[in-house]
């Protein structure tokens, strides 16, 4: 029935819409035919032709009204009216291209900023990992904000918990991947055997490894390639399965390829390969698998919760296991707490959320300011058009129809602005998603725009169109056609504060908040660049090597490393060279802390630790190469080797907190976790170790000879050209061992990684602040220009009567300046309050900085000056004569 119904209806509706002219002609013809017949009938009854026609028309009871009823019967009136509204709105808008351009650009910027930030939120926070049943998958972050723990710890957590279906774990591994040509340093995941089974991911080619493949350390030499690596390095060759590939000289059999959509379990990196974690120690010589005391083996453990288990229950359960372990192994197990978080961001969840959340708030402010701005413009336009509106009202148009027209204009502008904004943001997000900020680190932001972003941008632009479209509603509803037509378009004077004043003040306040926060961020960044970091990264080149990649055993490590240092020192132009195990300070935000105890401590469990300093193993000469000032005592020597008593160089912060002062520290002892007494032989200046934003932290340097490790960085100081120096360094090392992969980079470049979040934050805040300033300019400009044009007559009379320029200016722009001052003051105070939040991401975000305060005041004053310049010129160049003649 219904379908058949539409079978008749639809063609008619379409005809009404698309061949309107024919339908109208038909209607005319039909009624005309009727009228003619009727007229003839009347004539045949004896009326004159003229009277007959009039009589026929009378019987029609209003031809035009009847026609309109026939049109209504077509059922497309709503669409027709809307189309009419759109056509009319387009005509009206075309008459003021300047207004349209300003409005569209304003909105495009605001929507663009919001869409980009939403894209970040969508990609990093909202979108779950691309695996089945992602909603019940939870990761455990164990310890102080990061998930690091030992392998035995993980095994206990896996076997003793009652809330996870099963628990998998993984960590990073970096290894030279040798597929027959030259080894390439690659990033991989060392994963537990059940990793893929817990995730529920199916192999693309071949098979994955399983829990049954693990039979103790070094038992599972199997390799799974990521799709990206398989595609780029093996050209999609399916025959790669079964081949033997060397990881750091150790043979591994390729057993499968992961599917294209699976990029590991960390959002912003794509690994090259996956290997069983039981083989990790063998490959990269990393911390021992079975050592419960090290917390550097497992990065994250995760699994699906059992049906009906809440995350809170699972967290309590994991913590119960943790307390149990602490009781059994008081020495090795720290007082860590387990918290649950969605896998994908792991330890980065909180900072990423805080960052994106802060950006969202600021971007929303931008949009609000833009809406206030546009609402103001629309209200001013409505006031300008009050004559037209009253005329339409007087001619019988309904208020709702007029409002519909105004809303249509707002919606058109909103859609145009939204479309342009979306276009900009899509380009930006695509750029971000293929962006590789650091060479060597496979960073990848999964923020390619998807349907969510499009819908959000469209929704936002509709919402904002509605927001600024309703500002003039009250104006139209209260308009009295009689009054306005009679007395011209003068405003009812007397209302001291109008809605538009409030809107402008609010908008300026919002913009001042944005300007303040960007200033605070800028200042923080410049401080963190200038802050003392305890070494001098300029003119240094780092050579990263991992002797495990060339098959060196633990007994030959330090000898080879000493040969490398000596070889690098022979390069002409090299001043100093020194080595540090693992990573130098501030590289890859990878620094490790361990508990130490006072000399007299008997109970060596983490709870009674005296300090948790950062630990570095360095070679003699490292301090000189890094330009870390030795404050007291001595540097290490080549005699501080394995057999010699353990000695340490500590930083000033450690010396102060443990021993009272720098000089008192020399010769004193502390106790390490294993109970050994270590003597302090030197004190160096304090610096930054993990991040630039950290407070002063204690640090201990040990002799690398007493803690041999295969992965090291050699710091080479030279004023030579970095390019030449880097290749000279690679050549020198290849002279010693041609098969050892070397990675060279300047320390400053590596610092960029550490600076990255602060730089990003400052850039984002800077852009938002600039947009805020721009919005204030357009807002104040609109208001000032409007007030000048509104009061042209009054200003002309004032000038004719001999008014001074100053007085004229005050009359024309006094209000705008008052609003600017009020809004800026409010915004400054709000901004200072809000910048407490900035402290999360920006180094030393102290808002009560006189430089910031003056900066904001200056910027806002400049904004005011710029925005009122043109209206002021217009007010001053008035010619009272012309003006009065015109009126």
């Amino acid at each position: 029935m219904r379908i058949e119904h539409w079978f008749y209806k639809l063609p008619l509706r379409l005809r009404s819409l698309f061949s309107r002219r024919r339908v109208e002609n038909d209607l005319d013809d039909e009624l005309q035919y009727h009228l003619e017949q009727k007229t003839e009938e009347h004539i045949s009854r004896g009326l004159t032709p003229g009277d007959a026609r009039l009589a026929a028309l009378r019987e029609m009871d209003g031809l035009t009204q009847r026609k309109e009823e026939c049109r209504d019967a077509r059922g497309v009136a709503f669409i027709e009216h809307t189309l009419q509204d759109i056509r009319y709105a387009l005509r009206v808008l075309a008459r003021s291209p300047g207004f349209v351009a300003v409005a569209v650009v304003t909105l495009a910027l605001a929507i663009g900023a919001n869409a980009v930030v939403f894209g970040l939120l969508n990609g990093l926070v909202l979108r779950p990992l691309n695996v089945p049943r992602a909603e019940t998958l939870w990761g455990t972050t164990y310890g102080e904000g990061s998930g690091w723990q030992s392998y035995p710890n993980y095994i206990d957590l896996r076997d003793r918990n009652r809330t996870f279906e099963s628990l998998a774990a993984w960590s990073f591994t970096f290894a030279g991947l040798d597929a027959g040509k030259e080894p390439v340093i690659s990033t991989g995941y060392a994963a537990t055997g059940n990793y893929f089974d817990v995730l529920g991911v199916r192999p693309y080619v071949g098979r994955f490894f399983h829990a049954s493949d693990e039979r103790g350390p070094g038992s599972a030499p199997y390799l799974v390639l990521s799709y990206a690596c398989w595609h780029a390095r093996f050209q999609d060759d399916r025959k790669v399965v079964g081949r033997t590939i060397k990881l750091n000289k150790h043979p591994f059999t390729v057993i499968g390829v992961a599917p294209p959509g699976f990029q590991g379990t960390l959002m912003f990196g794509i690994p090259d390969f996956f290997m069983p974690i039981v083989n990790k120690e063998q490959v990269d010589g990393g911390p021992e698998l079975q050592n419960r005391g090290t917390d550097q083996v497992i990065f994250e453990a995760f699994g699906h919760l059992k049906p009906g288990v809440t995350p809170a229950q699972a967290e309590a359960d994991a913590n119960a296991v943790g307390s149990y372990l602490r009781k059994i192994y008081p020495r090795e197990s720290g007082t860590h707490r387990t918290t649950l978080s969605k896998p994908g961001l792991n330890a980065f969840t909180r900072p990423v959320r805080a960052f994106v959340g802060g950006l969202m708030a600021l971007a929303a402010l931008i949009l609000l300011a833009a809406c206030a701005n546009l609402g103001n413009l629309f209200a001013a336009r409505a006031a300008d058009r009050s004559r037209e509106i009253s005329l339409r009202l007087a001619l019988g148009s309904s208020r709702s129809r007029i409002l519909r027209g105004l809303l249509t204009e707002a919606t058109l502008i909103a859609l145009a602005g939204g479309a342009i904004g979306l276009w900009i943001s899509v380009a930006l997000l695509h750029g971000l998603s293929v962006w590789q900020p650091f060479q060597g680190a496979p960073l990848h932001l999964p923020v390619a725009p998807d349907a969510n972003v499009y819908v959000a941008a469209l929704g936002l632009s509709m919402l904002s169109g509605f927001l600024f479209g309703i500002v003039p509603v009250r104006q139209v509803l209260r308009a009295d056609p009689y009054q306005i037509v009679k007395s011209g378009s003068s405003l009812p004077a007397g209302r001291r504060i109008t809605v538009r004043d409030l809107l402008l003040a609010a908008q300026i306040a919002i913009c001042a908040v944005l300007v303040t926060s960007s200033m605070v961020a800028l200042r923080g960044l410049s401080r963190s660049v200038q802050s003392k970091i305890g070494f001098d990264p300029r003119n240094t080149m780092l050579a990263a090597t991992n002797l495990a990649m060339a098959g060196y055993g633990n007994d030959t490590l330090t000898a080879m490393q000493k040969r490398m240092i000596d070889a690098l020192k022979t390069i002409p132009g090299v001043q100093d060279a020194g080595l540090v195990n693992n990573y130098p300070p501030l590289v890859y935000t990878a620094a490790f802390r361990k508990a130490i105890y006072r000399e007299d401590a008997a109970d060596l469990k983490p709870a009674s630790a005296a300090a948790w300093p950062y630990f570095y193993d360095v070679s003699p000469g490292y301090f000189r190469a890094a330009r870390t000032a030795l404050l007291a005592g001595r540097d290490f020597t080549w005699h501080d080797g394995g057999a010699a008593p353990p000695v340490a160089v500590v930083n000033r912060d450690f010396a102060r907190s443990m021993f009272g002062s720098v000089t008192e520290a020399i010769g004193r002892y502390y106790k390490a976790q294993d109970g050994a007494r270590v003597q302090v032989v030197g004190v160096v200046e304090s610096g930054k170790y993990l991040s630039l934003t950290e407070d002063q932290q204690p640090a201990i340097f040990l002799s690398f000879l007493q803690a041999p490790m295969s992965a090291t960085y050699i710091v080479v100081r030279s004023t030579r050209d970095p390019q030449q120096l880097a290749s000279a360094m690679r050549n020198k090392i290849h002279e010693l061992d041609a098969g050892l992969p070397v990675d060279t980079q300047s320390w400053s470049t590596m610092l960029d990684v550490v600076m990255f979040p602060a730089r990003m934050a400052t850039m984002a805040l800077g852009v938002l602040g600039a947009m805020g300033a721009m919005l204030s300019i357009t807002g104040i400009f609109g208001m000032a220009a409007f007030s000048v044009s509104r009061r042209l007559k009054e200003l002309g009379i004032r000038m004719a009567l001999g008014g001074q320029r100053r007085e004229v200016l005050q009359a024309a722009l006094g209000r705008a300046f008052k609003l600017l001052a009020l809004g800026s003051a409010a915004g400054l105070i709000l901004g200072i309050m809000a910048s407490q939040l900035l402290a999360y991401i920006v180094y030393q975000a102290t808002p009560s900085d006189p430089l910031v305060l003056t900066g904001v005041v200056l910027v806002m004053a400049l904004v005011g000056l710029l925005a009122t310049w043109i209206p002021a010129q217009r007010a001053l160049s008035l010619d009272p004569l012309t003006l009065l003649r015109e009126e």
Partner: protein, 111 residues
Amino acid sequence: MSRPTDLVQGTLDLLLLKILALQPLNGWAISQRLKQVSGDILQVSDGSLYPALHKLEQEGWITAEWKASENNRRAKFYSLTRLGRRQLQQEAANWARLSDAITHVVRLDEA
């Protein structure tokens, strides 16, 4: 589709459908026929005829076609569709029920 409570509107629709069920007609002829069949009791103004016809057409109950009229001029002829025939039955039945009920009420003996 028709609302039984809207007596006049519903009645006009019913009348038009019934007239067109007998033969296809143009608007003018319909107005003549209306006068003819109902005498002066049912006054349908020329003005309300066309909106009603257009509504029926849009509902898909009648369909229109331009043809030559009896005096050889182009006129719009309406005819009933299959859907319209069904609608006519339904409205006729409604009308019968309604008039039965009202007749019944009117004939109640006053106490």
